[in-house]
Symmetry: C2
Subunit: 331 residues, 2 copies
DNA sequence: CGCTCAAATGCAACCGGTTGCAAAAAGGCG
DNA sequence: CGCCTTTTTGCAACCGGTTGCATTTGAGCG
């Protein structure tokens, strides 16, 4: 049923190689044959089979896009940007949802079976083992939104979470808050660990600050809300740095449901600047991650690895910026 | 570098066919050879190349998942559910972002080049031409969240938007609203058209109701907000049925920014029940689409078409349900 | 017009698998 | 143990392309 190279070759009265060559960039074909072939292809509605050609060329133009962040609104933008940028470069994202998967070996097997040219691990919560497993299988890989390491074993593109923690602390201090708390995401998530680190580094270096901390069970609305409800039971802090925006909204909602007011009674600063953060009913002061840069840079890296698989691993970190909205009291 | 069938065959001391057969369901292999092959494969770390085998079997297990709704929070859930369900059935989603694409032919070409087994068009705003183009190319296709047609030319799974319109109208009437308006999405979107239809069908059949309508330029926060700001300039209605939840939040935000109160001054009912609708700072009364059912059903259909490509097209519609929250005054 | 050299072409092998078919091996039975 | 049937096996062709290499074609030139 589908029309193949051979059909075109016969119709055009040339060899199969000639047809193949007219469809491959930079191959040697005379204008005359090219014309003939193009005409025949046109009439037959022929289009080369990318998968068949990948067998010999070793390139599928398939990029595995793997993530487990399907509940973080930020990731809708992330997927949008990734898919568009990949498409613009003629690459196709094979999407893998790792929500229920804990074993990197399975993902590697799966994506190797489909001969992906490269893999982008897009997740802030996934263990670095996933990216490493791909590297070990010699599949070009970049960990986007991954954890910074001074001697990275795979390419990592993201933000400096420690610095974000510091930034949050400085912001809260500059607003005159003195009883300050960290409301983190899952305790074991690397992003939580790093943000906490920077946050307390600054706070502990400042005199007269009373600090406390607690952790939500997930980066989710419900977890944030539940944790904040707990905190409100007994002498809450004046201001909280929340693990991320969704958590912040959960906390916000808990605070409001208790009849308290933000920022008058309690201040909140989030992290991510997801799309909804600017919605006026939320109006969250937060720290923006430059996701567009992170994504472009990730793709750039993975593309570079296609040509140079042994490229020396690097960490690319982008700086974040505080977005002032309405959940902190003014300076 | 990668280990192939041949390597395993040599190591196990059998023919390539034998190896192939041990890895294909239901092929005739003796237990003895199977053991040998499995051992060799294990030691070599062999896994069959799905793309190579697709060449002869004609099956890639690739499913094109195409959408242009990368700004609707509902679609994060949609992608989550689609990818997981597909994976559970051993299928792989090839994600295509159609945001900047208007020509169906390009999508068809692209996905044919990758020999996808089937395609799911997941979009409420994409023209039916996209799905039809795939059907014409004899690629199994299902349009999820698509428009109902009494004589569908392709499989359509979604909701009855006309009925949703009626449901919204009845809900507003039951709350005693009399000056009622429709705040639609883009005028030309089929979902807008249908929802409007059902909405006014009920309202016009009721005496003493004053109606009006207007349209946002997109299903987005900003468009909803801008349109509502306009409306607030001159004698707004008592209650609005908004095109979808994001639009509703935009409208909500405009209302609040004018110092008005919901639901005391103005009532709002949305459609979709996106995850954020239940966030207490939003707390939107809305109509829930059963997306899980829609997605399961879509996948079921596309899988069925793999075996029976000429399956007679059907429309599957699921009923929606009003979710009572805080943006309409009580009964 | 004959010669040289570069460009264009086709052949055939190959990419990593699958599969129809005939031959070989195994099993069942008298 | 021989004969017949069933199962297992390997051969070889094929899926839809690509590519190295030798050959043919044609352009350029004296």
């Amino acid at each position: 049923m589908p029309v193949t190279l051979k059909d075109v070759a016969e119709k055009a009265g040339v060899s199969r190689s000639a047809v193949s060559r007219t469809f491959t960039e930079g191959a040697s074909v005379s204008l005359k044959t090219r014309r003939k072939v193009e005409k025949a292809a046109q009439e037959l509605g022929y289009h080369p089979n990318a998968l068949a050609s990948s067998l010999t060329t070793g390139r599928t133009k398939l990029i595995g896009l793997i993530s487990n962040n399907f509940h973080n609104p930020l990731f809708l933008e992330v997927f949008d940007l990734f898919t568009r940028s990949l498409q613009d470069r003629g690459l196709r994202p094979l999407l893998v949802n790792l929500t229920d998967e804990t074993n990197p070996a399975n993902s590697v097997r799966l994506l190797r079976q489909y001969s992906v040219d490269g893999v982008i691990v897009a997740s802030s919560t996934l263990s670095p083992e996933f990216a490493k497993a791909f590297r070990d299988a010699r599949v070009p890989v970049v960990h986007s939104f991954g954890r910074f390491a001074s001697a990275p074993s795979v390419h990592v593109v993201g933000i400096d979470n420690v610095e974000c923690g510091r930034m949050a602390a400085r912001t809260l201090l500059s607003r005159g808050y003195r009883r300050i708390a960290f409301l983190g995401g899952p305790k074991e998530a690397t992003s939580t660990i790093d943000r906490r680190l920077g946050f307390f580094e600054v706070l502990n270096a400042t005199d007269g600050i009373e600090t406390s901390e607690s952790f939500a069970t997930a980066y989710s609305f419900d977890a944030g809300r539940a944790e904040m409800l707990q905190l409100l039971e007994a002498n809450p802090a004046e201001a909280y740095f929340c693990g991320d925006d969704v958590l912040s909204v959960g906390a916000l909602s808990a605070i409001q449901s208790k009849g308290l007011c933000v920022p008058d009674n309690i201040g909140i600063i989030g992290l991510n600047d997801m799309e909804m953060a600017r919605w006026e009913n939320i109006n969250l002061t937060t720290i923006r991650q430059p996701i567009r840069q992170i994504i472009d840079s990730s793709i750039e890296l993975v593309v570079a690895m296609l040509d140079d698989p042994d490229r020396y691993p690097e960490a690319r970190l982008f700086s974040c910026e505080v977005i002032e909205r309405g959940t902190l009291r003014p300076r």
